[in-house]
Amino acid sequence: MSPSPAASAASAPSGLDRLFRSKVFVWIVILIPGLYPAWPLFRQDPTVLADPLKYLLHHFGFVACVLLAAVLALTPLRVLLPKWRPALALNRHRRLIGVSAFFYALIHVGFQFLHEGGWPTFWTDIRKPFLLIGSITFLILLVLAVTSFKFMVRWLGGRKWKNLHRLAYLAAFLAACHQAAARKIFPVQVLWIFVPLALLELGRIIRQNSDRAPAISAPRQG
């Protein structure tokens, strides 16, 4: 397969490109928000100490949403900026970022369990619509994480796997609904997280449709 025109015209490798390729770098970026709560606890921030479990619950849910939106943003980023090597570099880490979104969601749910003081309240509360939405989101992320192993990809086959992993978009939508309903008043952070993603997706759809149009008369080789 010859290199696609886009790749051959791509910019020369830069420092940013190399940084974004680094697994270590991506791991560090993913782990920092997980370790962050140690800081307000160490500082004895009274607002956090008032109900530390609630704080942790919110924090990890927030990080899970950010990572979920981030991993979904990588594909449109690559499509819209095909020549920008850092975008390509980041796309190598999609599995890691996606699985980390699941793990943050898992910790989030774990803190909800502790915050509810165990099964009885956890169980009665989970029937509330906004928590059911969270649970469906969580189940989707669970399935996607479990099927992210290489052997699972092989076992399912590329097309089936791809279709299954489109559920990530549903997960993002449901996560946004869950987050939007979590507070008494609509929380603007939902918009900061999900509006950029929606715009990128919109851009990707427009781009792919305009790419496809000429492709009918002159099919691209590759």
């Binding site: 921030d45 009274p46 100490l49 109900d51 530390p52 009665t124 928590l131």
Partner: protein, 323 residues
């Protein structure tokens, strides 16, 4: 040893803090205790009290909070729902202290009363015979709770002073902040105008209904609702309107802010009721603020533990409908 019968609002014996109430160590120490999740008891020494604004207040012997574990001052003053000053619980402690000056303060009393007018708060307090301290439980609709030593005066004194006309059935209270000062925050606080709360006149004249002008024997901090804040301990915290600037007596039930914002989630009465859930969470139990990481939950009591005192106000009402 004197044997006393525990009052309905008191906690079980295991939650008792040894010694009396107003002991407070230097902030770092007790927060450290909390941070370590230490099994609870905070051994605090007497706090020096501010001597201005009618403080110190005498403890009202009927509400000493015996058996209640008072929430540390730092937590009461840094875990606030006060959307006019920001949506996060940490925001009001910062934003309400950026030059917002609640004193001197006049409160306007109007509507169906025989004694309407605008009154200086300090004058009113003098007319009411000064302030007193009461320790009350505080239960938020978000399923957390505190125990707060309030200073202030019974709302019934203010009602008597206003002298309502026979037709007056309700009080409508309105928050009254300096618009220019908080304009930035108020624009996006989501509250759709000034905060409004209401009570029936018989609720307002109940012995438990209280107007706080202080906590912990000091003037009430801005983020807790300076200079006048309603305290109705048998109701969810959002009834406790802050910065009261206007009290109007009416014959129709006012629509309180949260009812206006979400009618299916928050009602007019907002009585603490473990049997009526919020649409998004159970109200059967609550987390105690300052309990640390591993404290679990405690059961929520009917009318927040004040059932003996207030249940008669709601005789024959369907509390699931009138939530």
């Amino acid at each position: 040893m004197r044997i006393r019968t525990p009052k309905g609002w008191e906690l079980r014996e295991s939650a008792v803090t040894p010694e009396s109430l107003y002991r407070r160590r230097d902030r770092r120490d007790f927060l450290k205790t909390l941070g370590l999740g230490a099994a609870g008891a905070l051994f605090l020494r007497s706090a020096a009290r501010a001597a201005d604004g009618g403080f110190p207040a005498a403890v009202n012997g009927a509400y000493p909070g015996t058996g209640l574990k008072v929430t540390p001052y730092e937590l009461i003053t840094h875990y606030n729902n006060f959307y006019e000053f920001g949506l996060d619980k940490a925001d009001p402690a910062v934003n309400a202290n950026k030059g917002w000056q609640p004193e001197p303060w006049t409160v306007e009393i109007g509507g169906m009363v025989r004694n309407p007018g605008k009154w200086d708060v300090e004058d009113l307090i003098k007319k009411f015979g000064g302030i007193e301290q009461r320790v009350y439980r505080h239960r938020c609709v978000e399923a957390w709770s505190m125990v707060v030593p309030w200073d202030g005066f019974p709302l019934s004194k203010l009602v008597a002073f206003a002298d309502p006309q026979p037709g007056a059935k309700y009080l409508k209270m309105t928050s009254w902040m300096d618009d220019k000062l908080v304009a930035g925050q108020q624009a996006d606080d989501g509250l759709d105008g000034r905060y409004v709360e209401g009570l029936r006149v018989d609720e307002a004249t109940h012995e438990l209904a209280f107007i706080a002008t202080g906590i912990y024997g000091k003037a009430i901090p801005n983020q807790n609702g300076a200079p006048l804040r309603l305290v109705t301990p048998w109701k969810y915290g959002f009834k406790g309107i802050k910065c009261i600037g206007r009290i109007e007596f009416t014959d129709r039930a006012p629509v309180n802010t949260w009812q206006k914002l979400a009618r299916d989630e928050y009602g007019f009465y907002a009585n603490v009721n473990p049997k009526v859930d919020h649409p998004r969470w159970s109200q059967a139990s609550e987390r105690v603020i300052g309990g640390g990481l591993f404290s679990g939950r405690q059961s929520t009591l009917m009318f927040n533990g004040y059932e003996q005192q207030v249940a008669s106000l709601y005789q024959g009402m369907d509390l699931a409908k009138n939530f």
